[in-house]
Amino acid sequence: MSARDDEIRRVVAELDAHMAAVEASVAALKAILADDEASIGEEDLS
């Protein structure tokens, strides 16, 4: 295993972590919209 391979693996792991963080934040924002739409729907029903 060369130092270059280690470096590539490190960058790939960091990339995966950053992509997961983007997806988590975006999912959280979308969840707010979904929750609010659901709660508005519930209010309409009541």
């Binding site: 992509m19 934040s25 924002l29």
Partner: protein, 165 residues
């Protein structure tokens, strides 16, 4: 992949000559190997020009051509085959990462999402938390772009997929 880069022009020439192939035949063999794997490569006349340049060491073949050489001369590449597989795996992994990154929303899409979330009545998050979430997503998105550039540099410009003609 480093081992692939370490194959010299002299080695490429000796592999070709050991088969008794002239340069046009070598070009045909590379194109045939490319067809088998569905790869795009230079036209025959382009390869006929490039092969002598590679063999003289004037310029190094790009990643896709090095992989094709090793495919054509798999028996002679011997110990290099593991490096070839590892190199191909890395290129595939890089392609997956780029595809995954391309599927992420752009900063303006995140801003639009943020605006929509702020404009709606909400119970689960304060406006400050929504802004922080959006800002965090954009910061990580920039890191993704930076890391892809870093990875591209580590793998060499061949992995970027530029066409050689």
């Amino acid at each position: 992949m480093r081992a692939l880069a370490d194959v010299t022009g002299e080695t490429l020439r000796s592999w070709r000559e050991s088969k008794g192939w002239d340069v046009p035949r070598m070009a045909r063999e590379l194109r045939k190997a490319a067809r088998d794997t569905g790869e795009d490569v230079a036209a025959h006349h382009g390869l006929v020009k490039m092969i002598p340049q590679w063999e003289r060491g004037g310029r190094a073949p790009r990643e896709r051509y090095r992989l094709l050489y090793l495919k054509v001369f798999e028996d002679m590449a011997g110990g290099l085959s593991q490096s070839m597989a590892a190199g191909a795996d890395l290129v595939m992994r890089f392609a997956e990462i780029r595809s995954h990154a391309a599927s992420l929303p752009a900063p303006d899409e995140i801003r639009t999402l943020e605006a929509a979330a702020l404009a709606k009545p909400r119970k689960t998050m304060t406006p400050a938390e929504i802004r922080a979430r959006a800002a965090e997503a954009i910061i990580h998105l920039r890191e993704v772009a930076a890391k892809i550039a870093e990875l591209s540099a580590l793998l060499g410009d061949d992995a970027v997929g530029e066409a050689e003609s």
